[in-house]
């Protein structure tokens, strides 16, 4: 799957659009929304890298996001460490979490991984409330330092990290590694019979996925300047899965598009307030029944086949 010219043009156009958007739209409110959208883009891309490629659905991606964000919060608020360091520490902590969950569950067939991730994220949510002396309980940790004081600069920093991580994930996905991961999704038993250490590849891809998600969590924490137990909720994981579904699973760029599209749409639907989750679940059901391949990636493929 080499990138053809149309792919390069599309990627460049998307990048230019993202660079220009805050300059054209201007207001800090919109820049804030876009920054959050980019964080979701990182989360969706990292979810897709593990689950979209290997077909092992992760129902608790918020575990890694929360771990990254809380790492940032701890270092900055409790120990007063310069916020740049949390961008290093958050991925490391998230990877440690991925090892704890991935090692026992990814060896197994069946739905164990999905459910273990779901319960681990739920449990972390209650653990943050239990150890409220360190984690601030329901209120979370407040008063994180911003990494960059200008909101526009911070937007470009997050954009830089998003582009870097999408490129990295895409390069790995297009390499022989990615082929192996897709082969695992296709037929795990045959891969094993061919002498491939299936478990190693699954755990390694989960680690990479967790690192990107944790980094995104830290960036998000330093944008919100606050971390709370809601970062571990199932709803957050589900939102990410919906974004991936809308974007088209297994394509990495599609989920980023889906994430940005849905985050902006969610803001547009703010007037619906408490019915928003309804809209979300209805979108999910609609997609499951009528567009099992998603929206963005299939559209792009069609466009590509027309032009070439």
């Amino acid at each position: 799957m080499m990138m053809s010219r149309i792919d390069w043009i599309g990627a460049l156009a998307a990048l230019c659009g993202l660079i220009a958007a805050p300059l054209l739209l201007g207001s800090t409110y919109i820049i804030g929304i876009l920054t959050v959208a980019l964080c979701f883009g990182m989360w969706a891309a990292s979810w897709d890298f593990m689950s979209g490629l290997t077909g092992r659905e992760n129902f608790g991606h918020s575990l890694f996001i929360g771990a990254g964000a809380y790492t940032a919060g701890f270092l900055n608020v409790n120990f007063g460490i310069v916020p740049w360091w949390s961008l290093v520490a958050a991925p490391i902590v998230a990877v440690m979490f991925s090892l704890v969950i991935g090692f026992p569950t990814l060896r197994l067939k069946g739905p164990y991984f999905a459910l273990a991730m779901l319960s681990a994220a739920t449990m972390m949510q209650s653990i943050t409330v239990i150890f409220s002396t360190y984690t601030g309980g329901q209120d979370g940790l407040n008063g994180l330092d911003p990494i960059l004081y200008s909101q526009l600069d911070y937007y470009y920093l997050v954009l830089g990290f998003l582009v870097a991580s999408v490129c990295l994930l895409k390069v790995i996905a297009n390499s022989s590694w990615g082929t192996l991961l897709r082969a695992i999704r296709g037929d795990e038993a045959s891969c094993q019979a061919a002498g491939i250490n299936v478990t190693f590849y699954k755990i390694a891809s989960l680690m990479i996925s967790a690192a990107v998600a944790g980094l995104g969590g830290a960036l998000y924490a330093h944008y919100q300047l606050q971390v709370g137990p809601d970062l571990f909720t199932v709803i957050l994981s589900i939102n990410i899965i919906i974004m991936v579904y809308v974007g088209g699973m297994g394509s990495i760029y599609g989920p980023v598009g889906g994430a940005i599209l849905l985050s902006v749409l969610t803001e547009a639907l703010r007037g619906l307030s408490e019915y928003r989750l309804w809209v979300y679940t209805l979108v999910l059901i609609f997609i499951l029944f009528f567009m099992p391949n998603g929206l963005i990636a299939p559209l792009w493929r069609r466009l590509r086949s027309i032009t070439s």
Partner: protein, 284 residues
């Protein structure tokens, strides 16, 4: 000591009711039902709505609730799950969507504050120097009765045998003329009904809030992993293990720490014996 014994038994009975339904629908239809916790929450809320808003007598409300939630379970299986059954991920997502939907509906109709559900029985029993609320005793007795009833139903009726046959080999059972699709619906209704009964029994001494279904789902999953996915005796043993270890930790250490037991149990089981106590080797 007696307190731990009795409270542990009550919790175990509730957990067993939840886990049995969860493992049944998986063992028979291979459906991992993430909406299982919402059946439990619906049970508690429906009995609340029937008694306080519609003034239905409590015992009648309880029966009606079980039937209504069972019908809801059948509906979910027919309309939403059945068309997507080929894909495990789609089933997981659709049942998760159902559970989010139910939580939202409950939040929008009843608000986020906890509701009080009246007890079926009142008063306390004095037993070996400890006071135990009659409702807790009822929950224990009710749980045991329902589980024994389920066992008798599975072992001694034609329908029960059909369910067991499907769970052993769905294809062969179908060749023998057992209508598998109908059985899946029935099992879904059965498991939803049992979960609703659990919700009704615990509602008077648990906080009834819209998100009350999530934690029981996690617990049911933990129990089912410990006992072996798809095994009914396994889920009862798992419920006893988890119920008692949680109670012991809640009494000896703190309530908060007891919440961690289930995740620790899941991880330990998956590392040491992935198939669970009574599971087949399918997990490897």
């Amino acid at each position: 000591m007696v307190q731990i014994l009795v409270y542990g038994a009550v919790i175990s009975a509730i957990y067993a009711m939840l886990a049995v339904g969860f493992t049944l629908i998986f063992g028979v239809a291979r459906i991992l039902n993430l909406a299982h916790g919402s059946f439990y929450a619906l049970g508690a809320y429906t009995v609340y709505a029937l008694t306080t808003n519609a003034n239905v007598p409590l015992w009648l409300a309880a029966i009606l609730t079980v039937l209504l939630v069972a019908a809801f379970g059948v509906g979910v299986e027919r309309v939403l799950v059945r068309p997507l059954r080929r894909s495990m991920l789609a089933v997981l997502l659709i049942t998760l969507a159902v559970s989010l939907m139910v939580e939202q509906v409950l939040l929008l109709t009843f608000g986020s504050e906890a509701r009080n559900v009246p007890s079926l029985v009142s008063g306390t029993y004095h037993f070996a120097g400890v006071d135990i609320g009659a409702q807790r005793v009822l929950a224990l007795v009710g749980g045991v009765v329902i589980l024994v009833g389920l066992w008798l139903f599975m072992q001694h009726t034609r329908l029960g045998s059909a369910i067991l046959a499907i769970s052993q080999d769905a294809e062969a059972a179908q060749y023998m003329g057992i209508p598998s699709d109908r059985i899946y619906s029935i099992v879904m209704g059965l498991s939803a009904g049992i979960a609703a009964a659990a919700g009704i029994l615990v509602a008077p001494f648990q906080s009834v809030i819209p998100s009350m279904g999530l934690l029981p789902l996690v617990k049911a999953f933990a129990i089912v992993v410990v006992g072996g996915l798809g095994s009914i005796p396994g889920s009862i043993v798992g419920a006893l293990l988890l119920g008692y270890s949680e109670t012991i930790i809640a009494f000896k250490v703190s309530i908060e720490w007891s919440q961690i037991v289930s995740v620790a149990a899941v991880l330990l089981t998956l590392i040491l014996r992935p198939a669970g106590f009574f599971g087949k080797r399918a997990a490897f």
